[in-house]
Amino acid sequence: MIDNTTIGYLIIKNWLSEKSFHPFDFQEATWKQIIAEESGLVNAPTGCGKTYAVFLGAVLQFINDHPKEYQDLKNNGLQLLWITPLRALAKDIGRAMEEAIQSLGMQWKVGIRNGDTSTSERAKQKKNIPEVLIITPESLHLLLTQKNYPDYFKTLRIIAVDEWHELLGSKRGVQTELAICRIIHCQKSLSINSFGEKKEAAAPKETLIWGISATIGNLEQAKEVLLAPLQKEGVIIKADIDKPIEVRTIIPNEIEKYPWAGHLGIKLAASLIPIIEASKTTLIFINTRGMSETWYQTLLNIAPQLAGAIALHHGSIEQELRLWVEDALHTQKLKAVVCTASLDLGVDFRPVDTVIQVGSPKGIARFLQRAGRSGHRPGEISKIYFLPTHSLELVESAALQEAIKQQSIESKEPMTACFDVLLQFLCTLAIGEGFHAASIYDEIKTTNCFADLSINEWNEILNHLVNGGNALQQYDEYKKVELVDGLYKITNRRMAMRHRMHIGTIVSDAMLKVKLMSGGFIGVIEEWFVSRINPGDTFTLAGRNVELIMIKEMDVIVKKSNSKKSIIPSWMGGRMSLTANLGQILRQSFTKAFDEDAPIELKSLRALFELQAELSIIPKEKELLIEQIEEKNQFHLLVYPFEGRQVHEAMSSILAYRLSKTTPISFSISMNDYGFELLSDQPIPLDDSNVLELFSGDNLLNDIQKSINSAEMAKRKFRDIAVIGGLIFQGNPGEKIKTKHLQSSAALLFKVFEEYDPNNILLRQAYNEVMSQQMDEVRLRLALDRIAKSKIKLQFPKKLTPLSFPIIVDGLNRNSLSSEKIEDRIKKMQEQLLH
């Protein structure tokens, strides 16, 4: 039996009832598990006191250990390590913890450590260790570069990882895994004395690990990954707090039978104004940074009265401005904020009572997360409006609502074999205490990420660190990690300093700062965008029109412009792909197209569905629709797997490759989240006799490699890897000239490795990442398996169908075959088709 009448429990319960708080069941359950020295994962939505579940557990444990003097004990050493992915969260959480500590009459201190923490504060933390330390994964790694860091964690009782669902599936998640693993093993070795015997008296209790996560499809796995170094099963505690979500779709008055992505949304902008006006504060989520600039301008144009009460927030806007917006959100100074994923996470903005999602959120988890940004308090309803950017997205809205009902939420796949992160981590250890190869190898094998690391790979990694690969022996001065008396160490101070600066480098495309000539920094734009504009051109950033004057080193110098015409920058990597879960429910939704009790979103599409059914068919859940359309000597082949852009990209290339093996034929390819198109100037040899073969999963790997320019994709992946793996320096302040001679682009390094060291471990990682993430080979295989079991419906419509239209238009957009303005061409096409 778990003892829930411990003294700590009673004190905490008392304290809460004095404040007339009543703990949630999941909070009590967590405390009980902590008392019982268990580790685990708490699954709770934001704004439900998940912080208190783990934090008060730590306090309670302390009171139990020191029932008489818990209020007087000072300088107890680190008790609770609180890892959070977001700097912005630290302050609020810290404040809440301090309040509780004070009101309990305890002497605990709370420290915050991240990129913003000053050096003097850090020094203080080193001398006077706080009981609670709130830290980002990067800063935690920095802590491991200190000498004697094992002492720092000697007293540690609980490691808490907040927003674990955010970290899982990213390289920061791997960083977290490695750091936790190290700390746990430090303690294990501390409890063993130098004769290899267990110390009897002073054996410290084992540290617990607690994760806090929103709902994801693979909670069980999330827990396993986090607890892996403990080699314990642990528990999952679910907060069964029913948080109702109300989804409302903005249905356009007129439904286009030939939908076209990207222009309908703006037309509906006026319908947002009454919603904004009726709410306290509204968040408007836009999928890309470029579109968010457009929306901000449009809303101001149609509702000038909102000027000053509406703001823009995205990842390329200068940080101070973003912080101002976040602050204004707290204090309810703003009516609405147009934002991107930049506001997906973070502190709760109490005044937000309405959320609007413009365009497909591409995934269920993301949609729920965004909905949850409104109506935070328990008992309140989260309200979210869905505004479609083309009429078919109405089906998506219906699918999302169905998915919420079914609670079909995506999984986050943990990353494996990230050699770049491992190299970085080993350098980190080499700076601090140094490491012994054998024991560290055994240790990291307990993490999920490196469980399958072979001894050969490990030796390659050590060889990379110590010898820098193969070299011209007598002329080589490679120096990084040295082997001194069996201990791997970095002794060069400058190199150590550079590595410290390097930990936590944010990986992104080359970004240039945009500065006003009169002074002041507005935001950042990508290098490739700048390369396409000339001095005198006007573009929009952070809601302002500015004119390019010149580019000076890494700065883009601009001045204010009154010009009405302006280019909206676009940022790469904005295109997310539909998740598998949403795709599946989307296929189910199409099946219900003509149902009597179909939701309103589907009913309003009746005319479009009828046209689709007349020209072709509406695919049912277990069917794959393929349309072949001949038009003006052009041959379109359209396939609708509803698997998302990313899978379609691979699938279409493979199909094109397999077709071209039977007949010499060339295609241009386009796609959206619903399907893809192969376009050719000659008939496409696909029919009932060969269709199954063309979609078969046999020889898949071989065909992927032959059909896809994997080198080009790997080159893009290599950028991140080269930065994390320590091959690229972004330059340090005060070291300008010296580092200038150490700079090289990722593209150049990629070329060099391809030619001179093709077996390099980081290069191999780049190719693996292409297969597992970019090509998503697992999902591709699953999709092909599903297709193999589906009924294939081959149709030959006389003209373009509503489903095909957005895909074909997407192709026009990208290839821009004609000088005619694209909007005019599409309008003309729509008209021709309808008459």
């Binding site: 193969n470 011209l472 002329y475 190199m495 001679h741």
Partner: protein
């Protein structure tokens, strides 16, 4: 490896080689630029593990071109060495001794920051600003304020010129190139461990793209 391509300026014959060197037939001068020797060593000394073979191959390439053209003079239009001294320079010195009969001239570039004694030891004549032979001037970076006769034809380096060749369906390839305008030529960077800057040629410009083993006039 395929043959070099001939380019004639004022009745002088310049052979453009795919190994990124130019041979001036009449004067028997081998012209090259931006060799950035010892760059790999500089990176490696600082803990960045770039493959060492690239340096060896650069040296071997130059060696083979010297054997092929048998020049009297090797003229480097700047950036012979990448940075401060390191062990890789010893390999260069060893190689230099084998060709001690050849005159070695370096027009100083922004990367050439070694001590004078080192250049003396290596028997390299360092020229500041520009170097002139007949009506041809060699300058590392023409943007620097260097006083030379503007009527001359100018060879320069520094930029690492490249060209983007677009194929069908969004495909494109990038190559280093020899870039000729009316009165000047920008030389490709000799080092394989160097990036390129994509040029936007005017109609009057002549560009020779350098693919793996051939020089192609675009």
């Amino acid at each position: 490896m395929s043959l070099p391509v001939l380019h004639t300026i004022n009745q002088q014959h310049f052979w453009l080689s795919p190994t990124r060197v130019v041979f001036w037939e009449e004067e028997k001068i081998l012209i090259l630029s931006d060799t950035h020797f010892s760059k790999t060593g500089h990176f490696r000394k600082n803990g960045i593990a770039v493959p060492h073979d690239i340096y060896k191959e650069d040296l071997q390439n130059l060696f083979s071109q010297v054997s092929l053209f048998k020049p009297n003079t090797i003229l480097i239009v700047g950036d012979l060495f990448h940075s401060t001294e390191n062990k890789e320079l010893d390999l260069f010195l060893k190689w230099r001794k084998d060709f001690s009969q050849i005159k070695f001239i370096l027009v100083r570039g922004n990367h050439d920051i070694l001590h004078e004694t080192w250049y003396n030891k290596a028997e390299i004549e360092v020229v500041e600003g520009f170097y002139q032979v007949q009506d041809f001037v060699f300058v590392h970076d023409p943007a620097d304020s260097v006083e030379y006769n503007k009527n001359c034809f100018i060879f320069s380096g520094h930029i690492h010129p490249g060209i983007l060749i677009k194929g069908i369906a969004k495909q494109s390839l990038r190559f280093p190139c020899y870039y000729f305008s009316k009165n000047n030529c920008i030389l490709p960077a000799f080092s394989k461990f160097s990036g390129i800057k994509i040029m936007k040629p005017k109609k009057t410009d002549t560009v020779y793209a350098i693919s793996k083993d051939s020089v192609i006039k675009c």
